[in-house]
Each structure stands twice: as structure tokens, then as C-alpha cells.
């Protein structure tokens, strides 16, 4: 039997990854637009009015996908940070740096849209409950990661310090996710989970998934363009 190893480390070199990142960025950017148009169409025109919340619930189509992305991007950022920390691969640290601003952006969007959703449904813009507070901490973790990267001149040391912060901060992700179960929060429980059917109309669920795919493709496209900038800037 012949063993043929996949040359994973081939793409660990920034030089070989550069053109691939450009191709991925172009494909995912197009997919993001397609998913966004489809998601907005289903979310704003097809999905029925909610029996309890009226039209205010339509914020869900950006709020939930943005909140998912804010957590998911953090985990990916911490993953690349850990790889870079362990093996000193330059591209891993660049990937972590490229994801941070987009992660912070989706965290902000989740908080902002949640606030605009909370006012008409709960009667308040903000409340210091477990879900909202842990999501705000996530925003500060992203800011801390970026500030730390910017504050340290030595690239290698900046990456190691950022990686440590990112890895330690991962404990916040399960806290956000399970906060609505662990504590008595004003925030409603998960509408979608892995263990049961979604507790909403099929078209609402479809719109949400389409928007999640759009945000996902957007994040990949933006991160790939940004990592190309990182590669060029670090090469100087």
C-alpha cells in the first residue's frame, strides 16, 4: 500500500497561500451576495408576521446569524492563534489577525440589533443579564486582541501575546452559548438547536439559515482579502 501524504504544509507558506486566498475571496464574495439577496427576500417578503411580536421579529434575520458568527469567528481566531502559538507558523498568526476585526464587527451588530429588538419586545435597550453581558465581554476580547497586537512592535511577541489572550478568552464562548440555560435571563432560549426541530415557521428558519450562510461567506471573503494584505505588509 502506498501512503500518499497530503501536503498540508504546502499551504502553510504565505507565498503559496497568497493566490489561493485571492481565489477563495472572489468565490465567497459572489456566494455572499447570492445568499444575502435570497435571505433578505425570504426574510422580508416570504416569512410570515410573528403572532406575538408582529414585524419587529424580522430583526432575527440579522441578529441571530450575526451572534452565531461573532462566536464562531472567535473560535476560529483562537484556533489559528493556538496553531501559531504551538508551531510558530506565520500564516496562522496572520489568519488570527485577519479574523479579529470582522469578529468584532459581528459582535457589535449582534449587540446593536439585539438592543433594537429588546426595546419593543422587552421594553428596554439593555439589561445586564448573562447573555448580553457575556456577549459584551466578547466584544472587549476582540478589542483587547487587536489593541494588544497594535501595542507591541515586535511582530513575534505581539502574535504570542495575542494568541494567549485569544486562547484564554475561549472560555467565554460556552458561557455565551449556555448562558440562557445556566442563568435566569431575560434573553429567550435558543430557537434553533442540534437536538430538536426549530421552534419557528419553516420560512423563518430558511431565511435565518440563508443569512447565516451570507455572513459566513462574507467573513471568509473579507478575511482572505485581509490576510493577503497581512502577507504583503509583513513581507516588506
Amino acid at each position: 500500500m502506498t501512503t500518499q501524504s497530503i501536503r498540508w504544509f504546502w499551504f502553510a507558506s504565505p507565498h503559496t497561500f497568497f493566490p489561493l486566498a485571492g481565489t477563495i475571496a472572489r468565490v465567497t464574495a459572489v456566494l455572499a451576495v447570492i445568499f444575502a439577496v435570497a435571505g433578505l427576500y425570504v426574510g422580508l417578503f416570504i416569512a410570515p408576521t410573528d403572532a406575538q411580536q408582529g414585524e419587529a421579529y424580522r430583526i432575527i434575520f440579522i441578529h441571530v446569524p450575526a451572534a452565531w458568527m461573532s462566536m464562531f469567528l472567535y473560535v476560529v481566531m483562537a484556533f489559528w492563534s493556538a496553531i501559531g502559538f504551538a508551531w510558530q507558523t506565520r500564516l496562522s498568526a496572520m489568519m488570527a489577525r485577519s479574523l479579529a476585526p470582522t469578529g468584532a464587527l459581528f459582535t457589535f451588530i449582534a449587540l446593536w440589533t439585539g438592543s433594537l429588538w429588546g426595546k419593543p419586545t422587552w421594553g428596554t435597550w439593555w439589561v445586564w443579564d448573562a447573555r448580553l453581558t457575556s456577549e459584551l465581554i466578547l466584544l472587549f476580547l476582540y478589542f483587547g486582541f487587536m489593541a494588544l497586537q497594535a501595542a507591541i512592535d515586535d511582530r513575534r511577541r505581539a502574535d504570542r501575546a495575542g494568541a494567549l489572550l485569544a486562547i484564554v478568552g475561549v472560555v467565554n464562548i460556552p458561557i455565551i452559548y449556555f448562558s440562557v440555560q445556566w442563568w435566569n435571563t431575560l434573553h429567550q432560549g435558543a430557537s434553533v438547536s442540534f437536538s430538536r426541530a426549530p421552534s419557528m415557521a419553516a420560512t423563518m428558519f430558511t431565511g435565518m439559515i440563508l443569512m447565516a450562510l451570507a455572513f459566513w461567506m462574507y467573513s471568509i471573503a473579507v478575511a482572505m482579502v485581509r490576510v493577503r494584505c497581512e502577507i504583503v505588509e509583513e513581507g516588506r
Binding site: 408582529g54 414585524e55 419587529a56 440579522i62 464587527l105 433594537l116 485581509r226 504583503v232
Partner: protein
Amino acid sequence: MSEFLAMGGYASYVWGAYGVTAAALAIEILLLLRRKRETKT
């Protein structure tokens, strides 16, 4: 059309959420494209 824009009385909340999201993504794209131009990638 005006009924759609009114969002059942929740127009400022719904469009406030969608508008700021669109603006935030647009700003990120513009800043990134400027950086891309400056680095000549």
C-alpha cells in the same frame, strides 16, 4: 410599499437594525479596499 416600509409600526427598530448592519459592513469593505490599494495586493 409604504405598508412594507412601516413594518407594522416597528419601522425604526427593524430598519435601524438593517441599516446600521449594512452601513457597518460597507465601512469594513471600504476600509479594507483602501488598505488593499495601499498595499498593492
